[in-house]
Amino acid sequence: MPEDDTQPSGSGPSPELEPKLQCRNLWKVYGAQPESWFRDPKALNDPAALASRMREKNLIPAAVDVNFDVAQGEIFVIMGLSGSGKSTVLRCLSRLVEPTFGEVLLDGEDLLRKSARELIEIRRHKMGMVFQNFGLMPHLNVIENVTFPLTLQGMPEKERRKRVENVISLVGLEGREDSYPHQLSGGQQQRVGIARSLAVEPELWLLDEPFSALDPMIRRQMQDEFLHIQSTLKKSIIFITHDFLEALRIADRIMLMRDGMVVQIGRPVDLITNPADSYVAEFTRDVPLVRVMTAADALAPGATQQPSAGQPEVAATATLEDLLPQLAGRYDALAVRKGDRIIGQVTPESLIDALAKRTAAHGAAMDEDGSETAKDSA
């Protein structure tokens, strides 16, 4: 299983901490009496087979045996084409969609066992969600929209105002407090959506394609601001997108889905350099490797541990793109520093080597799967 061998490694958050959110064997099946399919525990051993049997009976398995953990402060991105089940999974986590089977543990407590009342409390204090088309209340102005979750809790108006002043300035909406949604641009509307989701000071932050409805220029700007906000707030985030470049910019880890199933979970670079199958490879094919691979991925074999005199140093997390100008004629080798130690060096040869190897791996994954599909159709 691809997701097993690509558990957080290297740059991922420290594994000692208990995950903020754990999703275990999560299923969502639409159709008549989906529960009956889960009575036989043996059937769950082969989820793919179970899902295809359901499809034969005209049921729609939208999420099939989904497993993943989200660590404290991690940005976990779910990707996939439309209809791949990513929105369903996200909505199962907050029970906007009621899962058919499985467990969702928030701080170790199973959300699926919570009563309606408890769930409302959890939504009021622990979760925030941002929607693709903003989901703003048309009859409320900016400040009323942002304070809406607090209003529902019955918080007095003075306290509410104090709480939201912060988030309003965090998302840069000062001066627009009295505007109505229809008077704002798309980017501004989504700022309101973000502010609203942050007003309750949630621990778990869910974002459903938050920037997909925006123009490319605005989208990039919003991504920057999103990263800036996260750098100060350190929320645990689940972020849905279908734009791989967006995922690349923000993700700690990415989960790729197809037909309701998890295809691969890993760091962005893992997905590119070590795709689980042709679907993943196809998804990542247009990504420039030099922007994703880092100095740590291109170390020269058997290089010295100590920098020679005058040899420049680069951080292990620097992208190859950053190294290129320095290696292009000026230096023969760059020392790579991780924390307080030098872990090796990058040379022009090692860089080209690394790129070539990854490109080959990528091509192989696509070929291999290509031949499989050819077999299928034969």
Binding site: L96, M127, G128, M129, G135, L136, H182, R196
Partner: protein
């Protein structure tokens, strides 16, 4: 089964039916029952219904009476309340509201409209009508909102509510005035209950629709914000649906008002509708015009005010002039009312408008109309004659009875008849030869129908053809509905009246489609035409139905031609609007693509715009038919002999059975026409 379907979908079935029609027509001397359904074969529905009604009254009468008394008390309070206020207070409050929701223009218009009522001295009558509306609208809104919410929340309830609402709106108003009269007794309360029944459906529909159409993300956002179920409903769903709900309030207000006016036909209400009706009946046209204008103005003010409130909603309070807060507004309204009331104590003319200052130019108007009618008597008569002899009579009783030396200037000799037959056959053959059996069947059908008239067609084949058509457009269910509906008309003994309704309605719809379609096309092509037509369309649509009769009765007097014109005037509006809207909504890209491939403007219209706009135009046809049927009953006031007249007779004689059978008959025609046009639209979309 497949064989039957093939037969039904092809020409042979039509050919057989047309041949059968011809055979029946040849045999009609020998078997007259094929044209006129024998009375002995009908089911005596009317006495059954009457005895049923008597039973209901004897058993439940007291409860209804109690309810009626309760409403009467409420109504008297409101009426007295309004009447005790000086007119200046009410006028200034209305003007204030108009200013707040819209601005100066509506405020000035409202002032002019309200002051007109004072000026001509019919303030009290207008306020009596207003009192009815003021009670029935809030009731209808509350009932409609909760019924609509029930329909939204519960699918099973919705499946019951929906057809019930259809029924309540398609059964002509006059038909249920009588049962209300019998159950609740005489008096203004009848108008109140009738207007409640008529005004609830739009509120129900809009509420269900609005609640249902709230964006899923907004609901999810509300749930993620931690809303409980009741918070989700009252603070997220209802406010988000508010625009649609307020649109419902607007439609409900208009329906309530129009019904209040119609209900005054039973009298004893001392309201403005009664005054208009009285003057129409006494042929006092100046008075009818002046008083009809009061109704029209009231309708327009109510419509603009409620429509503005609905339009304003989503833009939030900043849409209000001055951006004032609601509390401030209520307070200002109160202060204004008190101030004006105080002023009225000092200046008595603000309380009771002095009779000496009234301006009621009815006599002058009468003289003017008299002059016009006598001056242009020849022209008016000519128009009437032409329409009557060359259009209406042929459809009604056919060429064979219409063409006489007296009407057409020559007799319909056997030679001419043969010539006509050959012409029709030739046209049909030509259509057939060009590959369209549908058109051939159509030519044959209309050829026969114009010869014997719609009332001379044999009912067995007419029903068979309608059923076949229903089967082809909408499948088995529609065919069954068609056969059952027409069967009811036949067995209930109202077939002849139904055919006459069909004749008036069909003719009106056809003319609406042609004229309205042409106007719609013009309006779509030219902004100037569109702008010029808009106020007429608006006025015709907001006008309570029988005000529309007034100008036509004035000029053309009583008769079917006047009825036809009134029906057209009312039903043409959707034809114009939907045609314009349909053509204007054709995508720009398609038009550019067509222009780029070398379409002339004419080709563009006929080959691109009209075909693409067809579904919308068909929707307009549907609305046109519904409007025409609604107007049919009102048109009975000016002398027709169709179902509408039966409804009216039933009301006049206090004969519940007669009125309700005819009313249900009209509802059946309306619903069948509705389903048929919808099925045709479904084909195309």
């Amino acid at each position: 089964m497949k064989g039957i379907r093939q037969l039904a979908s092809g020409g042979p079935a039509w050919g057989a039916l047309i041949a059968a029609t011809l055979v029946l027509l040849v045999l009609r001397e020998a078997a007259p029952w094929m044209i006129r359904f024998p009375e002995g074969w009908t089911v005596p529905l009317t006495p059954w219904l009457n005895s049923g009604m008597n039973w209901v009254i004897s058993v439940f009468g007291t409860y209804f009476q109690a309810f009626s008394d309760l409403l009467s008390v409420l109504m008297r309070w409101i009426r007295d309340g309004i009447n005790s206020l000086p007119w200046a207070v009410i006028v200034s409050l209305v003007v204030f509201v108009a200013y707040v929701v819209s601005g100066w223009r509506l405020a000035i218009f409202s002032f002019a409209a309200m002051f007109y009522m004072v000026l001509i001295g019919f303030w009290t009558e207008a306020m009596n009508s207003l009192a009815l509306v003021a009670l029935s609208v809030p009731l209808a809104v509350v009932i409609g909102f909760f019924t609509g919410t029930l329909g939204f929340a519960n699918d099973r309830a919705d499946r019951i509510i929906r057809p019930t609402m259809d029924m309540m709106q398609t059964i002509p108003a006059f038909a249920y005035l009588l049962p209300i009269l019998l159950l609740f007794g005489f008096g203004p309360v009848v108008g109140l209950i009738a207007s409640l029944l008529y005004a609830v459906p739009p509120m129900v529909r809009n509420t269900t629709l609005g609640l249902r159409n709230v964006d899923a993300e907004i609901i999810e956002a509300g749930r993620m914000a931690g809303a409980t179920n009741s918070q989700l409903f009252w603070r997220v769903r209802v406010p988000s649906a508010m625009r649609q709900i307020l649109l419902g309030v607007n439609q409900t207000t208009m329906a309530a008002f129009s019904m209040v006016i119609i209900a005054s036909i039973i009298g004893g209400t001392a309201d403005i509708g009664w005054e208009v009706l009285k003057s129409i009946r006494r042929a006092l046209f100046g008075e009818s015009l002046l008083l009809g204008l009061v109704i029209a103005l009231m309708a327009m003010v109510m419509d603009r005010l409620t429509a503005q409130i609905a339009a304003r909603d989503t833009s939030g309070p900043e849409g209000l002039v001055g951006g004032a807060r609601p509390r401030t507004l209520w307070l200002s309204a109160l202060v204004l009312a008190v101030a004006v009331a105080a002023l009225a104590q000092v200046l008595p003319f603000l309380r009771e408008y002095p009779a000496a200052w009234e301006f009621y130019p009815a006599d002058q108007l009468n003289a003017g109309i008299e002059y016009v009618v006598t001056e242009f008597a020849a022209t008016i008569n000519y128009i009437k004659q032409v329409a009557f002899f060359f259009v209406m009579l042929p459809v009604k009783v056919g060429f064979e009875q219409t063409i006489t030396p007296f009407s057409w200037g020559f007799a319909f000799t056997d030679t001419l008849k043969t010539g006509y037959g050959v012409l029709v056959l030739a046209l049909a053959a030509l259509s057939w030869w060009r590959g369209s059996w549908r058109r051939a069947a159509l030519v044959m059908f209309f050829g026969i129908m114009l010869f014997v008239g719609i009332s001379g067609m044999p009912w067995p084949t007419l029903i068979a053809m309608a059923t076949l058509l229903a089967y082809q457009t909408g499948g088995r269910r529609l065919a069954l509905g068609m056969a059952a509906g027409l069967g009811f008309l036949l067995l209930a003994g109202v077939w002849e009246e139904a055919m006459l309704s069909l004749y008036l309605c069909g003719l009106a719809v056809l003319i609406c489609l042609l004229v309205g379609g042409a106007l719609g096309i013009l309006a779509a092509e030219s902004d100037a035409v569109s702008v010029a037509l808009r106020p007429f369309n608006d006025a015709l649509q907001t006008m309570p139905l029988f005000v529309i009769l007034i100008p036509f009765v004035m000029i053309f007097k009583i008769g079917e031609f006047t009825a036809l014109l009134a029906i057209i005037a009312y039903a043409i509006v959707p034809s114009i609007r939907y045609t314009e809207h349909g053509i204007r909504s054709v995508s720009k890209e398609v038009i550019e693509a067509a222009t780029a491939s070398g379409c002339t403007p004419w080709q563009l219209l006929w080959r691109v715009k009209l075909p693409l706009a067809a579904p919308v135009i068909l929707l307009g046809l549907n609305q046109t038919i519904m409007y025409a049927i609604a107007m049919l009953v009102i048109a009975a006031l000016v002398g027709t002999s169709d179902l509408g007249q039966r409804v009216y007779i039933g009301l006049g004689d206090g004969d519940f059975g007669v009125g309700i059978v005819a009313g249900v008959g009209m509802a059946i025609i309306a619903m069948l026409a509705d389903r048929m046009t919808q099925a045709m639209g479904g084909d195309r979309m």
